[in-house]
């Protein structure tokens, strides 16, 4: 691998250190992400996923271990945080947390405006980012943010981050609360950004269908440690691992596991619905 864009080594983090409530959220985590990769971080609630991704744009600074993002060493006290946050865009799980302007267009423009870009460039970027996430610039720019549905708010939050044109996009539960089509469209757009614009994508998700559709690589966490790192096929084919670490399966994989329990011979690595249908046809035509 050439120089990874995200290079995390031996990272540990303890909340409320030295108190009775001390909690080790990250325990000696090492992780490299290559430029242009699309990686999912999965794990049960409390496994340390959120703590990990908050290190990526300096919301949490390393207590021990190193975090180097595109050559910037976040462990250094003098690191240029502004420059770091321009390179790493973070979209939170609750879109309400990052919308604060009255109108949609102003909200998306906030970041580029603060960067001191000329007005024309700000406008161009807002237009680009809104259309990219599936919000019509003409129709939506003057909408008040309070009158948006949950799914629309999420798109606005994502557009606001994309307008900064980061090199690494970090998403916490990118499609929670979105309807099936919006989810599919957003995943396709993220995929497009990843494939065509070479944007590095790191996302946390509970939705295994989403992980199956989007990720090249899956990083499984439990109790603050990495327990597995592999392709979606390797991860979803491993029923024991998923059960042991309380990770759900895509529905289609659940059907395959059930068939296997009934004594049918199936390949559980076939995690897409179309592949699962083929597995069933194989049984029937045998």
């Amino acid at each position: 691998m050439t120089q990874p864009i995200v290079d995390i080594r031996n990272l540990s983090h303890i909340y409320m250190q030295g108190t009775p409530l001390e909690h080790r959220a990250l325990d000696d985590v090492t992780l490299q992400v290559a430029e242009g990769e699309c990686m999912a971080v999965i794990g049960h609630t409390g496994s340390g996923k959120s703590t990990l991704i908050q290190h990526l744009n300096g919301l949490i600074r390393p207590q021990s271990g190193t975090v180097i993002i595109n050559g910037l060493d976040v462990s250094q006290p003098k690191v240029d945080i502004k420059s770091l946050r321009r390179q790493v865009g973070l979209v939170f799980q609750n879109p309400e947390d990052q919308l604060f302007e009255k109108l949609v267009g102003d909200d998306v423009a906030y970041g580029p405006f603060k960067m001191g870009l000329p007005l024309e460039e700000v406008r161009r970027r807002v237009h680009w980012a809104m259309e990219l996430v599936g919000l019509s610039f003409q129709e939506m720019k003057d909408r008040p943010t309070f009158a948006l549905s949950g799914g629309q708010k999420r798109k606005v939050a994502l557009a606001g981050v994309l307008a900064l044109q980061p090199k690494v996009l970090v998403l916490d539960e990118p499609t929670a609360g979105l309807d099936p089509l919006s989810r599919k469209e957003l995943l396709e757009r993220i995929r497009h950004l990843n494939r065509e614009e070479n944007l590095t994508v790191i996302f946390v998700s509970h939705n295994m269908e989403e992980v199956a559709q989007l990720a090249d690589r899956v990083y499984v966490m439990a109790n603050g440690k990495a327990v597995c790192d592999g392709s979606p096929r390797q991860i979803f084919g491993n029923e024991e691992l998923l059960r042991q670490h309380h990770i759900g399966t895509p529905e289609s994989v659940d059907i395959l596991y059930r068939l296997r329990t009934e004594g049918y011979s199936i390949n559980p690595e076939s995690y897409l619905p179309e592949e699962a249908a083929c597995e069933i046809l194989k049984i029937l035509k045998r």
């Binding site: 049960h44 609630t45 409390g46 799980q93 609750n94 909408r143 008040p144 009158a147 948006l148 549905s149 949950g150 799914g151 629309q152 539960e173 929670a176 609360g177 979105l178 309807d179 099936p180 089509l181 919006s182 989810r183 509970h206 295994m208 269908e209 309380h246 990770i247 759900g248 399966t249 895509p250 529905e251 289609s252 659940d254 059907i255 059930r258 068939l259 009934e262 049918y264 619905p273 179309e274 699962a276 249908a277 069933i280 046809l281 049984i283 029937l284 035509k285």
Partner: protein, 289 residues
């Protein structure tokens, strides 16, 4: 199911007021009845009006036009709004937005304190509510140390303590992981079995498959309704409405297109497994005879 609905939504229209001369219409002449003991799912894409509709069911929002009646009480009647809310309770999407106290049992008691229940009865109701959601062991814990699914169960307990007839879940599982979601679904299933009326707004089609009746919203109107099996049979129509079907339905349809003897009209994972077995046994019998 009795014929007298608990909730009557009559020709309701609603719009968000943007400024003096601009309104965004959200509901257009919606009529809907919810019957006692029913498990109703409301689906629709983001912005179709389903959440706005659910917020009308216990008077959080009141219609611009038309009426909502809960056991005959009009939700416009501000003097009786407490009565309405004690009959129809609501659980929202974000668990953190609906937890107010620092100890689980205080949180469950919060609604009861407002309606002046005696200390004795309060204890009984808290016991009942925490037991119903399987969270009795957590009664003295601070809620912020709980997982999302556990917090949602506490939110449900707070509503159960009010002894409502109907529980409305507005995307109550969408922020939870699959285990948290299963926890909530198990609680909802149990409540429904015991006679509670359930209205759920959700994007998870496998949850919809468990309901008795599905209402599909589009642009502020009800455009399709029926049992889950009836609704999910309209795969193309749902796709037009930006909706989906459970993976079980999609897989069944795919298998059916290559293998016509396979029933395409399945909605649950276990039905797919049973259908594989059924078709196989038939094949074996056919080839054996």
């Amino acid at each position: 199911m009795s014929n007298q609905p608990i909730i009557c939504v009559e020709n309701v229209s609603f719009a968000y007021q943007v400024n003096q001369d601009q309104q965004i219409p959200v509901l257009q002449n919606v009529s809907l009845e919810v019957y006692p003991g029913e498990y109703l799912a409301i689906i629709g894409h983001n912005g179709s009006g389903k959440s706005t509709l659910s917020k009308h069911l216990n008077g959080i929002l009141t219609p611009l036009e038309g009426n909502v009646l809960v056991n005959g009480i009009n939700t416009r009647d501000k003097g009786r709004i407490h009565e309405v809310r004690s009959r129809v309770g609501m659980v929202f999407q974000h668990p953190d937005n609906q937890i107010v106290a620092t100890i689980v049992e205080d949180d469950v008691a919060f609604g009861l304190e407002n309606i002046e229940v005696s200390a004795e009865e309060m204890k009984d109701r808290i016991d009942f509510a925490l037991d119903a959601v399987g969270m009795s062991a957590f009664r003295h814990r601070p809620p912020h140390h709980l997982s999302g699914g556990q917090k949602q169960r506490i939110a449900i307990a707070g509503i159960l303590a009010m002894k409502p007839q109907c529980l409305v879940l507005d995307e109550a599982t969408s922020m939870l992981d699959s285990y948290g979601r299963q926890d909530i679904l198990a609680v909802v299933r149990k409540l429904h079995r015991e006679g509670m009326t359930i209205v759920t707004v959700t994007h998870h089609m496998s949850e919809v498959a468990e309901a008795d009746r599905v209402v599909v919203m589009e642009a502020g109107k009800v455009v399709l309704q029926g049992t889950p099996r009836e609704v999910f049979a309209h795969q193309e129509k749902l796709k037009e409405l930006h909706l989906d079907v459970p993976d079980a339905s999609r897989i069944a349809a795919l298998v059916h297109s290559e293998y016509p003897a396979f029933n395409p009209n399945l909605i649950h994972n276990e039905e797919v497994v049973a259908e594989v077995t059924r078709v196989q046994i038939r094949e074996v019998e056919a080839s054996g005879s």
